[in-house]
């Protein structure tokens, strides 16, 4: 459906390089990555809102990278809704229609259907400024789908919403995707959204695609240290393998199974590590003594950095645990985790 080949965009300080990506018809595809990775730039390049410096973007068989945005048939929905503040909800939704010379009756009934699905009937006469965030985003969705676009681009559509309305809108996105033939291409940095909505996804960093695959592949088998870090494996080490052991700076970690390669990366999620005063007597197969280096609050939790010899471990604990263990800089503590918590990264060389 969309096939992007060696796409490059140059915006002075920022550039996209060598983006190659295929998205199938009517797929729900998600693009993830940290702030500043270039996700929105890629989106705007597909929409024709930034100038492409080389490469090709095809929609089906048609090359579109040189078409102006109004000729592409691609709609875009922004995080900040971008509703036209001087037009009523009704006029916002019907805005695109006058520029599309499809048989009008058919369009109107399709839009009526959208208005029903998104429950916008009671809002039609109002102005965007009087609506809540969730309502505005529903209007923006209706406006974007009103022209029956081949592709709908969504730039973090749920990010600005009050969390109470996010679930509701996520549900609407699902319904709309099932009810139209439009391909959905969504940018997000929230993993939960990807899990809930998408089949396939890509992870982007510094203007390049790091990994493209199913959600499960990305989460369970990150292709690079960056993706591992992005999916929450904050403890990442270059290791040598020997039997069922991973050896890092002289510290041996039990993998539970022999390794296929002799060098590579291993990663451990901070929430998979348990802290205790004394070594734990249990099924846990890795247990190391360390010293607390830093305590950092993260909203509900605290991230504790612990040095085992010179190897830093990041561990996530609750307020209660911080209080019970009386942790502070310099405390001695024991770091424990199961062999199954040690992930070997797929084919990453040391």
């Amino acid at each position: 459906m969309i096939s992007i080949r060696n796409l490059a965009v140059n915006l002075g300080q920022f550039q996209l390089t060598d983006i190659t990506l295929d998205i199938k018809e009517n797929e729900f595809f998600v693009l993830m990555g940290p702030t500043g990775a270039g996700k929105s730039v890629l989106l705007e390049a597909i929409a024709g809102l930034v100038t492409v410096s080389s490469g090709s973007i095809k929609l089906g068989t048609q090359e579109i990278s040189n078409l102006p945005p109004e000729k592409r048939g691609i709609s875009i929905v922004y995080q900040d809704y971008a509703l036209f503040p001087h037009l009523t909800v009704q006029k916002n939704i019907f805005y695109g229609l006058r520029f599309h010379r499809s048989s009008r009756d058919n369009s109107v009934s399709r839009i009526r259907n959208l208005i029903d699905i998104l429950a916008l009937e009671p809002l039609l006469g109002r102005f965007p400024g009087t609506l809540s965030g969730g309502e505005q985003q529903r209007v923006a969705l209706a406006r974007a789908l009103a022209i029956d676009p081949a592709v709908l681009l969504l730039d973090e559509p749920l990010a600005a919403l009050d969390p109470r309305f996010r679930e509701d809108l996520r549900q609407h996105l699902k319904t709309l995707h099932q009810n139209t033939l439009t391909t959905f291409f969504m940018v997000t940095h929230d993993f939960a959204e990807a899990i809930a909505l998408a089949g396939r996804a890509a992870v982007m960093n510094h203007g390049c695609l790091e990994q493209v695959g199913t959600i499960r592949e990305i989460f369970q088998q990150p292709a690079s240290p960056f993706v591992a870090d992005f999916v929450g494996m904050k403890n990442l080490y270059a290791a040598r393998f020997s039997g069922t052991l991973a050896i890092i700076d002289g510290i041996s970690l039990e993998l539970g199974h022999p390794s296929a390669s002799s060098t590579g990366y291993v990663a451990i999620r901070p929430e998979d590590i348990v802290l205790s005063q004394e070594p734990l007597v249990s099924s846990i197969q890795n247990s190391l003594n360390g010293t607390v280096k830093a305590v950092q609050p993260l909203g509900f939790h605290y991230e504790i950095e612990i040095l085992v010899k010179n190897l830093p471990f990041k561990v996530l604990i609750t307020k209660q645990a911080l209080f019970d263990l009386q942790l502070h800089e310099g405390s001695e503590t024991v770091v424990s985790f199961k062999a199954t918590a040690v992930h070997q990264l797929a084919g990453a060389p040391a």
Binding site: E70, Y78, A82, G96, I147
Partner: protein, 263 residues
Amino acid sequence: MRLTKKEPFFWVTLSCGLVILAFILLPLVEMVTAPSAAVLKETIQDKEVLQSIWLSLYTAGAAALISVIIGTPFAYLLARTTFPGKNLVEAIIDIPIIIPHPVVGIALLSIAGRNYWLGRVFNALGIRIMGSVTGIIMVLTFVGLPFYLNAAKEGFTSISPRLESVSRSLGASQVSTFFHITLPLAWRSILIGIVMCSARAISEFGAVVIIAYHPMIAPVLIYERFESMGLKYSQPVAVWLVCLCLLLFLLLRVLTLHQKRSA
């Protein structure tokens, strides 16, 4: 730390404030209250006065109209692009604000004369600058244009380019988008620009008096009456002109306060 009444320094700042307000208000109040109501009424029925005020309004309005027509696209260009030398271009736009007013007249006459190619072009086309309404409008456009450009530019800058992006992606061309989205959203800034441009144009004297003593705009008439008949005879005309300017000023204040509040 806010200033409070407990501090002696507060009273120093307050005294300075009162002196300044008195310095600004006393002359105006005295001037406005000096002529009797009868004299004011008589003045506004004076055909010469009416004509000059009408000419002031008409030429200032024409200057504002010209500014809107050629200034709006340029203001949009400045709001939506960056390029090397943009600072210089913006400086050039502000030059008319700081040139001494008679010099503006002299400069415009310099290009209208027969020894300059543009002057010869004007002459061939039968356009007269010196002592004509055309000349007055040209002068007023010169001094008023920067105010319109700056206000309109600010208005365009404050509109999110995303709204235009969405409009484009929904099928509207660049021009369609400008007329359906950009212009309706910038109308208040454009109106502010028009009012500022007209207000500046109406109050101009030094540049106009060089180009056209006749036909007389209101400020020239006030000067003429002052010179030939004295203060007492110029005051009533000045009162009417000040009222006109304050009306424009009030409109401007209401517009900008509204804009601040809704921003």
